[in-house]
């Protein structure tokens, strides 16, 4: 799986960080999403799918399953 995040669309709700903190973080000064991994492990992939669904700004996408 490969994912991407659009920090221009991100509104900093933090839903992704709450869902999978090993993959998502928030930039300290901008507050917007930072990807800690672009190719999540098999064990993280369900949580990443949840984060994509939960993102209120639709800033996250799965580029490749």
């Amino acid at each position: 799986m490969r994912i991407s995040a659009d920090s221009d669309v991100c509104i900093g709700s933090g839903q992704c960080v709450l869902t999978e903190p090993a993959v998502f973080d928030q930039d300290d000064s901008a507050g917007t999403v930072v990807l800690l991994a672009t190719e999540p492990d098999a064990a993280q992939q369900d949580a990443v799918r949840d984060a994509v669904y939960l993102c209120p700004a639709q800033a996250l996408s799965i580029v490749e399953e």
């Binding site: 509104i11 900093g12 709700s13 933090g14 839903q15 960080v17 709450l18 869902t19 903190p21 973080d25 928030q26 930039d27 300290d28 000064s29 901008a30 507050g31 917007t32 949840d50 669904y53 939960l54 209120p56 700004a57 639709q58």
Partner: protein
């Protein structure tokens, strides 16, 4: 449409979701609007760029906000769309990020501990709203913004008038103007000497960027102060009421602190206190759930109806603190989703953990049906919650 007991959704929602999930409804004063009740459609409506949040659009459904108050103050971010909204929100999102809120937790814990000291000193019995539910979020938002807590009586009474639907329009207008002029003076003082608080940081940031704008800072302070204390206060009192009335659920939370964050999500879903705050106006023709919505039409996306949608939540009318469902829309959805949601989560988690541990015999002093609930307010809650121990 009213909630028939403290814990129920208006019964009309179930029928609407099944038969006419996007329906034309009349509002007091002759206005009409579309009401959206399915979870999927509410999410779609709140991310539809054809639906505007501008409260000054003529078709904006105002029932949720009482009668129209006219003023020319700059609208805070909740009334802005598109790029203008994005710029306004981006200036403050780092203040409410998950890591920043985590850093505030020790201070929130102290504030909660002090409030529970007050509760224990003033009873039993005591009113949980006055001793705990109101002071905790008020103190937290005051410290974050840099508003003197000593003035809490002033802004609490005015906020209560602003969000009460039965307040007559002149009184609402007066409350808005008074609160606005209080914050105007406060921002002016901070502009002379910007401190290490959210408003001070915004002033410095705007100066660095050459975008200093006094009016928009006052609007920001107004929004964060009003939204920051009343909402969380209502979730503290309603959440406590629900747990004390569901002993099996209370036991699950008290026995395992790992359950508390899940319980907080479930209580947010179950009460959806800002049910009708997610109102919009179509600025272009669009479609919601297969229903054509014309430019100029008002739309209310009901968070409570969506959060009780059986297609998305099993046994939706049951309180289940182990449900673990975070896809509720209690904080709204789309680009306007609640800015302070992680602050609210932190306050609620710390509060329920501490309250249930420090006051293990906590119980309602009276019957559930006698608790005075806010049927008349935009944000649902209870006016008083008598408790004993």
């Amino acid at each position: 449409m009213n909630r028939t007991c403290p814990f129920s959704a208006p019964p009309e929602y179930e029928e609407l979701r099944t038969d006419t999930p996007v329906v034309r409804v009349g509002l007091p004063g002759g206005q009409s609007t579309w009401l959206v009740t399915r979870h999927e459609d509410v999410r779609a409506a709140l991310t539809d760029p054809a639906l505007s949040s501008n409260r000054r659009n003529p078709g904006f459904p105002l029932r949720a906000f009482g009668l129209r108050v006219t003023n020319d103050f700059p609208q805070p971010m909740i009334g802005l769309d598109g790029a203008e909204h994005s710029a306004s929100r981006r200036a403050v999102i780092s203040e409410f990020s998950v890591p920043r809120i985590t850093a505030l937790r020790p201070r929130i814990q102290q504030i909660v501990d002090d409030a529970i000291d007050d509760l224990l000193a003033s009873g039993p019995p005591a009113d949980l709203v006055r001793t705990v539910a109101l002071p905790v979020p008020s103190l937290v938002i005051c410290e974050l913004l840099g508003v003197p807590y000593a003035d809490h009586g002033y802004f609490q009474t005015r906020t209560a008038k602003i969000i009460n639907r039965t307040t007559v329009v002149e009184e609402r207008q007066a409350a808005v103007v008074e609160l606005r002029s209080y914050l105007d003076e406060l921002v002016t003082a901070k502009e002379r000497e910007p401190g290490d608080d959210l408003l001070g940081r915004q002033i410095r940031r705007q100066r660095d960027e050459g975008t200093e704008d006094h009016g928009s800072l006052v609007s920001l302070a107004f929004l964060l102060l009003v939204a920051g204390h009343e909402t969380t206060a209502n979730m503290i009192s309603l959440g406590t009421l629900a747990l004390l009335s569901h002993p099996d659920q209370l036991g699950l939370v008290r026995d395992d602190p790992a359950t508390t964050p899940l319980a907080v999500e479930e209580l947010l879903r179950y009460f959806s206190i800002a049910d009708a705050a997610t109102a919009r106006t179509a600025t272009a023709d669009t479609e919601i759930g297969g229903q054509r919505v014309a430019a100029g039409d008002g739309v209310i996306a009901s968070g409570l109806a969506a959060n009780r949608d059986p297609l998305v939540f099993e046994r939706p009318d049951e309180l289940d603190v182990t449900r673990g469902a975070r896809h509720h829309v209690a904080f709204g959805f789309g680009p306007h989703q609640c800015l302070g949601q992680n602050l609210a989560r932190a306050e609620l988690t710390i509060l329920f953990d501490t309250l249930l541990r420090r006051v293990p015999t906590l119980a309602l002093a009276g019957e559930v049906d006698d608790v005075p609930v806010k049927q008349d307010a935009t944000i649902y809650g209870c006016y008083e919650l008598p408790v004993t121990w």
